[in-house]
Subunit: 330 residues, 2 copies
């Protein structure tokens, strides 16, 4: 059944029914079905909003509706992780083209709910409207951890650390655009990592001085970090962690893997670590406990004029990736 | 300059600059410019999300960008008012067509910020993306008042009260669709009422048993109230408050004003009032203090089978208005 055949209220009812079928969530005083949600919150809430728009951030045939829903949650909650917080509630605003099968809308919401619940996050509200393309705008409401990890606390001498491997998702998008449908790189795009657990753990210690998520690409995001903290960065490009799949794929394309590693869509954490070797050891231990790979890729220095992010040979590193300019159809 | 000429980061910077130019807001620990906002919140937060999509909810030539921004805030915060809460923070997610002048995006954000600030609400975050049409998705984070006024507390015997007049905005949309550009009715569409102040006042008393905002139309919203509270409603249709402008316009169209009064877009409050005549007197006094007109339009009764909302002659009242089905182009 296509969306045009049924009305807004039936659609909302269908999604309400999905939510009603789940166990009642802690902290939700009034959930979906009233004018607004009433939520138990702590004194410091973390709030972020993010949109995935068909034709700009994804094509519908790139992933299943359930994968899209889960991906939307991971992308949006990544910003809460980057502050060292815990995601507690999520709101979902959908625009739906008239020809979209209603089953796909339901499966998308189911995928989101399941992935959110795995992070102890509840769907508490939303909105549905027709629109020319499918889009999902998520708002995640979280609770701050012991410390709030902003972008602005890094100091010269801090180590630059990243989690996981970089560039897989960007290469996956390239494969999707070329008609690819199955690969490890495409899987990385379809299912970004969730770094909420390790981020919360890091916020309990005092070694991390600044943190953000790698959504815009290593170059651009390091630039943000340097801007906000008033520092410069020197990155050992050979140390940037890259998966064997990406290395193989890049070689086959006659290029290096680093171009992919600065394109964005990684949703790994970029972390400034202070307290010298002892700080790094504690962060490494926390990552190990959480089962998350981490790599030291460079060092922060004093503010300099000109390009703030340079490689080991003091050469400026190419910038990141501007969501607004880049389209799947490019 | 059209949106395609500049990148996401420049656009975000322009809006960040707007926010930075305002006095620092109470409660905002980390505002726009980091991964997420960190906000001081109370133990009970009210959260709601709402979208306005070009071609579905508005056409760009129907109102100025500043009016659109302000309207978006009023529509979204109306749900917080309906719970008896205070709007404290707002997040704005925009999709922007490539041909849209950047000045319009800025003026839209300015209109939103100004109207939100008048309600002591701060813009604390957002997202910008290309999209095929202009759309604004707002999330409003509020604080619960002394009491949370849901839809489910109404009891048989309660009076049914509405604020303001109904139907003006729906008639204004009809005029806009017919090419109209200036009228009181169009003004009502462009600038919905803000009922945050009176709603907060009502939440401090104990006479209101249930409340919601009239966004879907009197028929549909009364239906929601009856559903949630397990009651029926009898409405004196002659009592439904209608402006002289609407009465004149409807007469010229050879129809009555009530059809417009149940189409939605009013963003007035629908209130169930208990405690008999004394309760009504106190609610009337609160409305008078806030400068808000109020009208008793009927009484709630015990749950009945069949249509729950009937007129004084026990005839079912036609249902409301399904956002998803209705398009400006219809």
């Amino acid at each position: 059944v296509a969306a045009r055949k049924i009305g807004e209220f039936e659609l909302i009812s269908a999604i309400e029914a999905l939510v009603a079928a789940r166990p009642k969530s802690r902290g939700v005083r009034v959930g979906i079905g009233d004018d607004a949600a009433v939520l138990q919150t702590t004194s410091r809430s973390i709030v972020t909003t993010d949109a995935l728009v068909e034709g700009v951030h994804f094509e519908r045939h790139w992933l299943t509706p359930a994968q899209l829903g889960a991906r939307a949650f991971r992308v949006a909650s990544s910003d809460v992780a980057a502050m060292g917080g815990v995601a507690r509630y999520v709101l979902l605003s959908l625009t739906i083209p008239e020809d979209m099968p209603i089953g796909d809308v339901r499966r998308c919401a189911e995928g989101l709910i399941a992935d959110a619940e795995a992070a102890s996050t509840s769907l508490v509200g939303g909105n549905i409207s027709y629109g020319p393309v499918f889009s999902l705008t998520l708002t995640v409401v979280g609770a701050a951890g012991a410390r709030v990890l902003t972008r602005s606390g890094a100091r010269p001498g801090d180590s630059i650390v990243v989690t996981g491997t970089l560039g897989d998702a960007a290469a996956g998008v390239e494969q999707l655009l070329a008609g690819g449908r199955r690969s490890k790189l495409i899987d990385a795009y379809r299912r970004p990592p969730s770094r909420l657990a390790i981020a919360g753990r890091l916020a309990r210690g005092s070694d991390v001085t600044a943190m953000l998520d790698l959504s815009d690409g290593l170059g651009r995001d390091l630039d943000h970090l340097c801007d906000s903290s008033g520092v410069s960065a020197r990155v050992d490009l050979d140390a940037v962690p890259v998966s064997p799949s990406l290395r193989r794929y890049a070689r086959a394309q006659g290029t290096g893997p680093l171009g992919y590693a600065t394109r964005g869509e990684d949703y790994e954490l970029l972390i400034a670590v202070g307290n010298g070797e002892a700080g790094l050891r504690r962060v490494a231990r926390a990552c190990k406990t959480s089962g998350v790979a981490m790599t030291v890729i460079g060092t922060l220095g004093a503010k300099i004029s000109g390009a703030r992010v340079r490689d080991s040979f003091e050469r400026p590193i190419e910038g990141g990736w501007d969501h607004l300019r880049r389209r799947p159809s490019d």
